[in-house]
Amino acid sequence: MARLTPTGYLLPSIHSVPPFFTEQPNPTTQATLTEQWTRLILSYARHRRLFFIRIEDAETTGGDWDEVLRNEQINRRVMPAHLSSLLATLVAKNLAVYEPPKQTRSVLLFWRSPEEWGETLHEWATSTGQLNTILTFYEIEDPPVPSPLSGIPTALLRKAIASLSKTGRAQIIGAADGEGVRLFAGTGK
């Protein structure tokens, strides 16, 4: 049965099925279960605004992902090797990227695509009257008034800005105390 976690996330009932926590030798079954896992990981990340998932999360307890990667009621957990192949699937489907690059133990999750983050950034800047001024990355990542972008990792912010630059609505500005961006009005078309 579906179960509500302490953080208020509704786990799907397949999370209480013991073999869900084992990699399947049958390719069709494996594809189905992997699909369920990727959906679960992204939706939980969105629920808790988690941007990263790491192999360590399956190796140790006490992390942000315990509710999903473990089910104490049936005494099952996702093994590190299993998580590793789930991360590879997420990356292959463009739902995540290895971050930092050139390693495979940590991914940046796209529960919103970089393009969608770009739009979110543009809408926020427009509604708060910050178009045409220089915003530092820090001001975007940790604004005094919480925004939809609060806590966004720099790597993801960079991708969001890159997507806005393609339509001429953003320009990266080098500043002495770090980087900044100037956003311009536009429809994005």
Binding site: S13, V17, T22, P25, N26, R77
Partner: protein, 250 residues
């Protein structure tokens, strides 16, 4: 003495005469019977038509009522399912042929969409439950019997839809794969255990050798995708789970 039938030529005439009158009498009688039959048939048709039109909605909505109606049809030798094309007036009247085909399409829908997780084998109860969910409240209830009937209408498609009896309970198979004897035993034991099967269980309860148990489980797991592997079983280390006898929502 005046003998009946007499002798001579007159007797031939008389015999021929009586043969003729018997013949015409029999013709009249059959004619009467036929016309009586025609009247009966047309009365039957019109009352059946009346019945069908008055109760059409209820027949479609109420599985209990539909069952009784179908029993009545079987008794009088009428097939309410004769499809819309073959059935002529009476399938049109009732629309039951269409109803059945529509249910057939929904059965295919459920079977195909759950195939990835159950390997093409679904328990009847679960199928009925999912059908009812799919049809919503307005669709009316569906009974096991309706499903069995609809699956029969699917047969010409040759997709291999079949109702199986596994250990006294019905399952619907939607892949053209033979379910062998050993698999039937595994399924039946799995259901008693809430879906979990291990080699030991088959050795103990079915009296199989370990090799036979392993082969049956491996075939179900690797070849047919009918069960899932669990490598974290507390008791045996490795267990097999049969999703088609388990119940959960997506």
């Amino acid at each position: 003495m005046n003998r009946l039938g007499g002798v001579g030529y007159a007797a031939f005439d008389r015999q021929r005469e009586s043969e003729r009158s018997f013949a015409s009498l029999s013709a009249t009688l059959s004619q009467q019977q036929i016309s009586a039959l025609h009247t009966q048939l047309s009365t039957f048709r019109s009352s059946l038509a009346h019945f069908a039109t008055t109760h059409r909605d209820r027949i479609k909505r109420d599985p209990e009522f539909r069952h009784t109606f179908q029993q009545m049809c079987t008794q009088i030798g009428v097939d309410p399912l004769a499809g819309p094309r073959r059935g002529g007036w009476w399938a049109e009247l009732l629309g039951l042929g269409d109803w059945q085909h529509e249910l057939g399409v929904q059965i295919v829908d459920v079977c195909v969409s759950t195939r990835a997780r159950n390997g093409g084998l679904i328990e009847m109860q679960e199928l009925v439950r999912m059908l009812s969910k799919l049809r919503g409240v307005s669709g009316g209830a569906v009974s096991e019997e309706d499903v069995v009937r609809s699956i029969k209408t699917l047969q010409p498609l040759g997709a291999g839809y079949e109702v199986l009896d596994v250990g006294g309970r019905k399952m619907v198979r939607s892949v053209t794969k033979e379910l062998d004897q050993d698999q039937a035993v595994v399924l039946s034991l799995a259901r008693d255990e809430g879906g979990r099967v291990v080699e030991d269980l088959l050795v103990q309860k079915a009296g199989w050798t370990r090799e036979r148990a392993r082969t049956a489980l491996d075939n179900m797991l690797l070849r047919d995708g009918l069960c899932w592997l669990d490598e974290q079983d507390e008791i045996c280390g490795t267990a097999y789970w049969v999703p088609s006898v388990m119940q959960w929502d997506e």
